[in-house]
């Protein structure tokens, strides 16, 4: 057996889902008995069979990856409940095993996978999808790149309809059907508050919390997930504010963005110039704008 062949054989077994009682399946990836499969490449010792030795790695794999998803998606877990969340994670990891060297990226395909596999969230799929998008945005905003921000004075100075601005790479703009931001904030607060409570008390409060989550009513919201002083924040946006930022993020000039959101009658009846100015002042103060780099600057940096 070559090195590659041994590694394929072991990885298939290690990545095979555990049974509901968290043991290694008695059925091997090749359809035969797992005991025979394990004995084919792993030595037994005086205390453990080949099956039991392989089972240690099988359990470690699933426990590590499930813990990582639970840490990254506590909101989704609260929405679905523990058992359903576990089933969803197992199905996701079986369909989409990690293809990145870092666990940080484990949930990056969860949104697209859940869209294609709605049965794992059942009737809660719309809110579950919203939550996955928000929790993934939270991860990306936490450690996304930041460029040198334009100071408010620089933004104001370079005014005019043809001005092109760039949003910081860590800013994420999202539209949701449910106010999932309040849920995540509630969960974060709950985790902070109950850090020192006993498990029993914690569980009781968690059950109450999950019941509250289930009562969440649909309501369209627009959100910027961003970072300030190394902490991630959720900022609710007005629909027009969201539209302007989205257009800017897509590379529109300031004039094009305003036209797109308010129509050709920009700066007329529907657009409140004072409000737009105020938004720009806020966004600049938050450091959301950075300088557009020319093609030659980009090339020289890449070199």
């Amino acid at each position: 057996m070559s090195l590659l062949s041994l590694q394929r054989t072991m990885a298939k077994a290690v990545m095979q889902p555990l049974t509901p009682s968290e043991n290694m399946s008695k059925r091997a990836p090749n359809g035969g008995p797992m005991a025979k499969y394990a004995a084919g490449f792993i030595k037994p010792n005086d205390r453990l069979t080949s099956f039991e030795r392989l089972e240690i790695y099988n359990r470690q794999y699933w426990w590590r990856l499930m813990a990582s998803l639970a840490e990254d998606f506590p909101g989704l877990q609260a929405i679905l409940g523990n058992r359903e969340f576990e089933s969803l994670c197992k199905a996701y990891l079986t369909d989409r095993p990690s293809r990145s060297f870092t666990l940080r990226n484990l949930g990056r395909d969860l949104q697209s996978w859940l869209k294609k596999n709605p049965q794992w969230a059942g009737s809660k799929q719309p809110i579950a999808l919203d939550m996955v998008r928000l929790e993934w945005a939270d991860i990306e905003a936490f450690d996304g790149a930041a460029e040198l921000p334009l100071r408010p004075a620089e933004v104001a100075k370079s005014g005019g309809g043809n001005l092109k601005l760039k949003l910081q790479p860590y800013v994420r703009l999202l539209k949701f059907q449910y106010p999932v931001d309040s849920l995540v904030l509630e969960i974060k607060r709950f985790n902070d508050d109950t850090e020192f409570l006993s498990n029993t008390f914690r569980e009781r409060r968690k059950r109450k919390h999950v019941t509250a989550v289930a009562r969440l009513k649909p309501k369209t919201i627009f959100l910027a997930v961003h970072r300030n002083d190394d902490s991630v924040y959720f900022r609710r946006l007005d629909a027009a504010e969201y539209g302007l930022l989205l257009a800017i993020q897509k590379g529109k000039t300031l004039g094009q963005a305003v036209n797109q959101v308010f129509g050709k009658r920009a700066m007329s009846s529907t657009a409140d110039p004072a409000q737009i100015t105020e938004w720009f002042r806020n966004w600049s103060t938050l450091g959301w704008f950075c300088a557009l780099r020319s093609k030659s600057e980009k090339k020289s940096k890449e070199r």
Binding site: Q7, R8, R47, R53, L65, S98, D143, G144, A146, P169
Partner: protein, 283 residues
């Protein structure tokens, strides 16, 4: 033999793993600590708090990089994106040496995120050594490979674990990060004498030593890094220091992490053995 070409001719003393529950204490109190070991993957990102904290730590402390996912022993090709990000971090930290594990963990581009044991074969030794050389040439920094704890052995193996380690490091001409806790854990799981292992390692290649705690179950021991170091592991450490001399030593504590002071005090127990080795060499 404190400084050698495998640890960049440095003379580091006792260090600690940099872990997020200690960030605030370290940044606000600035405790005396000779050096910190970082998990490279935690900082191979584009921005945000982790890199901000790292830069502040780098301003005041010496930092060494330790990886968990290079998988020198995987038959897969090296992930170029991983290497590129790692090199960016090496430039940032100026790590005098870089360590990762003598194990595998990915196949056909799928990652287990575990440190899986190697089959101790000549084919595996040759391929692993080649990968270590390729990584070292790209990163331009000395490499030390760490022995892992294991819970399984393969029929395929043609030699002992320490013979395999020696075969790899001689072929790659690289250093060793000797984890004496891992030696102890594996010795209990596979019924060998851990001193045979420590006595067989080429002492001149030891760049760094790891110490840690573990968890004992009925039929095996798991390397959990969530307990103090036990006496049998300190004895192995003592023997390793007798052979390798005063060596950069790091305590790993990754789960149920106590206060910074408790972890540091546990690490400083290594001084008993380091001082003894200095005295022995002076006589």
């Amino acid at each position: 033999m404190p400084a050698n070409r495998f640890n960049g001719f440095t003379d580091y003393d006792i260090g600690l793993g940099l872990r997020s529950p200690h960030y605030n204490h370290i940044l606000s109190r600035k405790p005396v600590c000779d050096w910190f070991e970082i998990i490279s993957e935690n900082f191979m990102i584009d921005g945000g708090r982790p890199l901000h904290v790292l830069d502040q730590i780098l301003d005041q402390y010496r930092v060494v990089q330790h990886g968990v996912s290079m998988y020198f022993g995987s038959a897969d090709r090296i992930d170029r994106d991983h290497l590129r990000r790692l090199k960016e971090l090496v430039k940032r930290t100026k790590t005098p040496w870089l360590s990762d594990h003598l194990c595998w963990g990915s196949v056909d581009g799928r990652y287990t995120h575990d440190l899986l044991p190697m089959p101790y074969t000549f084919e595996a030794a040759k391929k692993t050594a080649q990968k270590i050389c390729d990584v070292r040439d790209y990163l331009e920094v000395p490499i030390a490979v760490e022995n892992v704890s294991s819970y399984a052995e393969f029929h395929l193996s043609e030699m002992t674990e320490w013979e395999f380690l020696n075969e790899v490091v001689e072929r790659a001409d690289c250093g060793i990060l000797l984890d004496v806790n891992n030696i102890y854990v594996s010795s209990q799981n596979h019924s060998f004498n851990p001193f045979d292992y420590v006595n067989s390692v080429p002492a001149e290649r030891v760049a760094q030593i790891h110490i840690a705690g573990h968890s004992k179950y009925e039929k095996y021991i798991l390397d959990t890094h969530d307990h103090p170091v036990i006496d049998p592991v300190w004895k192995l450490y003592d023997r390793a220091i007798q052979r390798a001399g005063h060596t950069a030593t790091l305590l790993e504590w990754d789960d149920s992490i106590p206060t910074f002071r408790e972890v540091h005090n546990e690490a400083l127990k290594a001084n008993r053995f380091l001082a003894k080795s200095v005295l022995a060499r002076a006589v």
